[in-house]
């Protein structure tokens, strides 16, 4: 069975500084990993995905994530935060056998002016 742990429920950074949202996963099979973003009262948007190709994955809006099998991590980063990045971010895992997708509890990103 797969699971995902987002280590921080809230993260606050100043505009223009780096963003790090942490995610650890557990999967008994080769996982696919995703980051989704949800802006207030909006739907879910896929930021990026890892599906066993390059371990450093680039997504939309300047975000990227690195798959580290040895650390079972898939942390999301961005070099410079923008006010529009304020949202809820979900780390998601699928073990590709049954297409079941499991969401982490989410990290709310706050951007300080």
């Amino acid at each position: 069975a797969q699971s995902v742990t987002q280590l921080d429920s809230h993260v606050s950074v100043s505009e223009g500084t780096p963003v790090l949202l942490r995610c650890n996963y557990s999967s008994s099979y080769s996982p696919s990993l995703f980051w989704y973003v949800q802006h207030p009262n909006k739907g879910l948007q896929l930021l990026l995905k890892y599906t066993s190709a390059a371990t450093l994955v680039k997504g939309i809006n300047g975000f990227e994530a690195e798959f580290k099998k040895s650390e079972t991590s898939f942390h999301l980063t961005k070099p410079s935060a923008h006010m529009s990045d304020a949202a809820e971010y979900f780390c998601v895992v699928s073990d590709n056998r049954d297409d079941k997708i499991i969401f982490g509890k989410g990290t709310r990103l706050h951007i300080l002016p």
Partner: protein, 113 residues
Amino acid sequence: SAVISQKPSRDICQRGTSLTIQCQVDSQVTMMFWYRQQPGQSLTLIATANQGSEATYESGFVIDKFPISRPNLTFSTLTVSNMSPEDSSIYLCSVVGGGYEAFFGQGTRLTVV
């Protein structure tokens, strides 16, 4: 990619009544997934709906409360039965694409009064 039409988009219901949510996909898919997102929370998988067999429910969810139909490969319904205020949530249906990422319907915002 997949386009999912979900309806109703929102509803306000009396406690003790039932609401059926419909989900239509623009392509044939083997499995469809139903999620619940309670206020301020992450997405929790309710059940997996397979065409031609009974849905598979996650721990904490039962068929009597959340009956699911899957009459063909492009359509599914989720019924929220005997509703109470605790059922007030956003309900989403989802399918998984060829790249393993999930596609979501717009969601149904349910308020039980």
